[in-house]
C-alpha cells in the first residue's frame, strides 16, 4: 500500500507555510523580522515557497544594532537583491542618537536590550500589524509557552499569563487599533530540524556558520568575538582560533563555538553530539533565570 505520511521536515514545512499564508490573509501590514541568522533565513525560504510564483508579500525588517558581523550584513544585502525583496532597517544607533535609549556602560554592555525600543519604534512608524519572527519553542523555557500568533498590546507587551488559547490550526489574529501580533511560523521546529531542513533544501547561509579563523576571547564559559567596541576585562586576551557561530546575533552577545565543521553534514553531526543548548552560548540569556521572559514581556523578539 502506498504510504501517505509526510516526513517530519515536510510536515513542519507545511505547517509553517500555512501560518505564513494566514499572516498574509489576516493582516494588512505584516513584516518579517530578519536578523541574518539561520532561522530568519529559513523563514525567507519558507515565504518564497508559500507565495510562489508571486513574490513575498511583506517587507523584511532588520533591527540593526550597529554591532553586526559584517558577513551577516553582506549576506543580507545580497539576499534582498537576489529575491527582489523589500528591506527596512531600524537602527539602534539612531535610537541612541535621538535619545530614545541610553547605551549600556561597562564590561557586559550590550545593545541587545536596546533593540526592543528600536523594534517597537519601527513597528509603530511603519504601522506593522504583524511581525513574523524565527523564534522556536525549543530555544528557551519562556519561548516554550509562546503561541504561533502572539498578541501584543498597544505598548508592545506580552502577557504570558493571559494568552489566547490556540487550537487545531485555527489562528485568531483579531486585534484593536495600535495592537500588533508576533507570529512564529517555526515554533515547532528544533535546532536539529532547522539544520536538517537547510541541508534538505540546500539553503545558502552566511559564512559565519562554518569554521573560520577569528580573534576571540573567553568570558564566563563563552567564546566571544573581539571587536573594537568589545571592552575586555583585565586578564582576558584575544587569540586567533578556528570557530563558527551556532547562532548569529549582535556581536556583543553571540557566543562562538570551537569547531572545524566546514559543511552542513559536519555541523549536523556536531549538533547531534553537543550537550549544550543553542542559547547556552547566548550571553543575553545569562543575565537571570527569567531573562528571556522579562525581555519578551517588554516586546523583545
Amino acid at each position: 500500500m502506498k504510504d501517505y505520511n509526510l516526513t517530519h521536515l515536510r510536515e513542519l514545512e507545511s505547517e509553517a507555510i500555512y501560518i505564513l499564508r494566514e499572516v498574509a490573509a489576516q493582516f494588512e501590514r505584516p513584516a518579517l523580522l530578519f536578523s541574518g541568522g539561520k532561522d530568519s533565513i529559513v523563514l525567507v525560504h519558507l515565504s518564497r515557497k508559500a507565495f510562489y510564483p508571486a513574490s513575498i508579500p511583506f517587507p523584511l525588517v532588520h533591527i540593526d544594532t550597529g554591532h553586526n558581523f559584517k558577513e551577516a550584513i553582506t549576506f543580507r544585502d545580497e539576499m534582498v537583491k537576489q529575491f527582489n525583496a523589500r528591506l527596512i532597517v531600524g537602527s539602534v544607533q539612531e535610537s541612541i542618537d535621538t535619545g530614545r535609549v541610553v547605551e549600556e556602560k561597562g564590561i557586559n554592555a550590550s545593545r541587545n536590550v536596546l533593540q526592543t525600543v528600536t523594534l517597537l519604534d519601527t513597528i509603530e512608524k511603519n504601522k506593522f500589524d504583524a511581525a513574523i519572527g524565527g523564534g522556536r519553542r525549543d530555544e528557551e523555557k519562556a519561548r516554550a509557552k509562546e503561541r504561533f500568533f502572539s498578541h501584543r498590546d498597544e505598548f508592545g507587551q506580552w502577557d504570558p499569563k493571559n494568552q489566547r488559547p490556540e487550537l487545531w490550526n485555527i489562528f485568531n489574529g483579531k486585534k484593536r487599533m495600535g495592537e500588533h501580533f508576533r507570529v512564529f511560523p517555526i515554533s515547532n521546529w528544533t535546532e536539529m530540524d532547522v539544520w536538517q531542513y537547510i541541508l534538505q533544501e540546500n539553503i545558502e547561509l552566511p559564512s559565519l556558520y562554518f569554521t573560520h579563523e577569528r580573534e576571540v576571547f573567553f568570558r564566563d564559559g563563552v567564546w566571544l568575538a573581539a571587536a573594537p567596541f568589545m571592552e575586555m576585562k583585565p586578564g582576558e586576551k584575544a587569540e586567533k582560533l578556528r570557530v563558527r557561530c551556532r547562532t548569529v546575533g549582535d556581536i556583543s552577545c553571540t557566543g562562538l563555538v570551537l569547531s572545524t565543521a566546514d559543511n552542513l553534514g559536519d555541523i549536523i553531526q556536531e549538533i547531534a553530539a553537543t550537550r549544550v543548548t543553542e542559547r547556552g552560548g547566548r550571553y543575553d540569556d545569562k543575565r537571570s533565570d527569567a531573562a528571556m521572559e522579562d525581555r519578551k514581556k517588554e516586546g523583545y523578539f
Binding site: Y4, N5, L6, T7, H8, L9, R10, E11, S14, E15, I17, Y18, R21, E22, A24, A25, R48, K49, F51, Y52, P53, A54, S55, R137, D138, K141, A142, R143, A144, K145, P160, K161, Q163, R164, P165, E166, L167, W168, N169, I170, N172, K174, R176, S187, N188, M192, Q196, L199, G265, I268, Q269, I271, A272, T274, R275, T277, G280, D289, A290, E293
Partner: protein
C-alpha cells in the same frame, strides 16, 4: 537526539522521520513531570546547561532532589507557585521518530489547557497513580482525549515501584479502566503500560522488575503507534486560504488557490465543486515552489489551479464532487468554554471555521456535561470557564463542515468575544 557513533544525522533515514504529537495529562502528584523528565533524560534530549539551570534552581528553592518540574515550568509565576499554568511544548527525538509533547496541567480548573493540548495530538498519555487506581481525574483525562478525537490513548500505570511491581495491581486497574471505556469511549485504541517514572521501569528501558509484562515500553509504544490513519483520506476537502495572483509579466494569468489539504487525496483532473457557489470544475494543476505534483494529501500546503475561471476567495471550500461536506447555518456542537467571562445563552460571538469568518448566536444549551461522571445537566442558561456543553447555534452565513469525528480540521471551530477579541471557546461539530 541520541548521538551514537555510527548515526549519520544527514542521512536519508534521519531527514525522513515521522512526527508524532502527543499530549500528557496529569498532575505533579501523578508523576507527570517526572515522566516527561525521564523521557527527555533517557532519550538524551536534556542538555547540560538546562540541567545545570534546574540544579541551581532546585538548590536555591531548598529541594533535596533534582526537581524536574522546574524544567517544564517555564514562566516565572509557574516557578514561584510551583504549578503549571499553561500548555508547554517539549521536543525530543529518537532514531525512529520525532516527538512533540503538549504538556498540560491535569487539574479540573485547567480543562481548557488540556483541550488545547489535545486539539493537535495524535496520541494521549493518561497517567494513573497505581496507589490510587482509577479515579475521577482518570475518567476526565480519558474522556477529553476521546472528545478531542485523539485516536490512541496510552494508559501509564505509574509508581509500580511503590506496590512491589505487582501484576494484580496492574490487572485490576486495567479492568476498571476497560469497564469505563467500553461504555463511553467506543473505537479508542487503548494500550496499558505498568511503569515507574522515578526508577525508569518501562519508560525507555524494559523493566527488570516486571517480567510478567510482555508488552512494549512507553517509548517503543510512542515510536510504533500508527499515525497514517489520523486524517480522512477519502473525502476531498480544501479550504481556500489565500489567492495567489502574481503581478508579473511571466505569470500574468496565474490564479492559484493556496491552502492546506484538510481531507482526501487530490489529483490533477479530479472533479471538484467550489462552495458556496456550487460550481463544478476540474483540478488543472497542483502547484508548489518545487514544481507541480501528481497528487496531494493532508496535511500538505499546496496551491490548486482550476480549469474554469471562477470567482473564489478566502473562506470558500474546494471539495470532491462525489462527497460534499455538509452545508448549514444552524447545527449542534460540543464546546469547551475557555474564558473567565461566562458564556451567555443567546450571546453573539465571532466564529472561525477553517479559513471562514462568520458570526453566530448560541440559541440553545442542550446540556452541560459533568466531565467526571459524564452526567448530562439540562436547563442551564450560562456556561462557566472549563465547562463542556452541547449547544445549538445559528450562523450569519452557512459553513461547510464534516462531523468532528470524521474530520478534525473541517469539524472544528473557535468562538471569539467580539468586544475583547479573545478566543473564548473551542467547538467540535456533531
Amino acid at each position: 537526539m541520541t548521538a551514537t557513533e555510527e548515526a549519520d544525522f544527514s542521512s536519508k533515514a534521519y531527514l525522513n522521520m515521522q512526527l508524532l504529537r502527543f499530549t500528557t495529562a496529569g498532575s505533579v502528584d501523578d508523576g507527570k513531570s517526572t515522566l516527561i523528565g525521564r523521557l527527555l533524560y533517557d532519550s538524551k534530549s536534556l542538555f547540560e546547561d538546562q540541567l545545570d539551570a534546574v540544579k541551581r534552581a532546585s538548590v536555591q528553592k531548598g529541594s533535596e532532589h533534582l526537581n524536574l518540574a522546574l524544567f517544564t515550568d517555564g514562566l516565572r509565576a509557574e516557578r514561584e507557585q510551583g504549578i503549571t499554568i499553561d500548555v508547554a511544548y517539549r521536543y525530543f527525538a529518537t532514531p525512529n521518530r520525532k516527538f512533540i509533547i503538549a504538556d498540560t496541567p491535569g487539574h479540573i480548573q485547567y480543562t481548557r489547557n488540556m483541550v488545547t493540548g489535545a486539539s493537535t495530538a495524535n496520541a494521549a498519555i493518561v497517567l494513573i497513580d497505581a496507589r490510587n487506581g482509577v479515579i475521577e481525574q482518570t475518567y476526565r483525562h480519558a474522556f477529553l482525549a476521546y472528545l478531542l478525537g485523539i485516536p490512541h490513548i496510552v494508559v501509564c500505570i505509574n509508581k509500580m515501584d511503590l506496590l512491589d511491581y505487582r501484576q494484580d495491581v496492574f490487572e485490576k486497574i486495567k479492568a476498571d479502566f476497560n469497564a469505563f471505556v467500553a461504555k463511553v469511549l467506543p473505537g479508542e485504541d487503548l494500550r496499558f503500560i505498568p511503569i515507574s517514572a522515578l526508577k525508569g521501569d518501562n519508560v525507555v528501558k524494559p523493566s527488570q522488575k516486571m517480567e510478567w509484562y510482555k508488552g512494549r515500553t512507553l517509548l517503543e509504544t510512542l515510536e510504533t503507534i500508527p499515525i497514517d490513519q489520523d486524517h480522512d483520506m477519502v473525502r476531498q476537502r480544501f479550504p481556500v486560504q489565500y489567492v495567489i495572483r502574481p503581478e508579473s509579466e511571466k505569470f500574468h494569468d496565474y490564479r492559484g488557490y493556496a491552502g492546506r489539504i484538510a481531507g482526501g487525496i487530490f489529483h490533477p483532473g479530479d472533479e471538484v465543486t467550489v462552495l458556496p457557489a456550487g460550481i463544478k470544475t476540474k483540478i488543472q494543476r497542483i502547484d508548489t515552489f518545487n514544481g507541480p505534483l501528481d497528487e496531494a494529501f493532508p496535511p500538505m500546503s499546496v496551491t490548486l489551479l482550476l480549469n474554469d475561471d471562477i470567482d473564489i476567495s478566502r473562506g470558500d471550500m474546494i471539495a470532491g464532487t462525489g462527497a460534499l461536506p455538509e452545508a448549514a447555518s444552524d447545527f449542534e456542537c460540543m464546546i469547551c468554554w475557555m474564558n473567565p467571562k461566562p458564556m451567555q445563552l443567546n450571546g453573539k460571538y465571532a466564529l472561525k471555521h477553517n479559513t471562514r469568518d462568520v458570526r453566530c448566536l448560541i440559541d440553545t444549551i442542550c446540556y452541560v456535561l459533568n466531565i467526571n461522571t459524564l452526567e448530562q445537566i439540562p436547563g442551564r442558561t450560562s456556561l462557566a470557564m472549563n465547562e463542556i456543553a452541547r449547544i445549538h447555534l445559528r450562523t450569519t452565513k452557512p459553513l461547510f463542515f464534516d462531523p468532528y469525528t470524521t474530520n478534525r480540521q473541517t469539524g472544528s471551530l473557535i468562538f471569539i468575544d467580539e468586544a475583547t477579541n479573545e478566543t473564548v471557546a473551542a467547538g467540535m461539530i456533531l
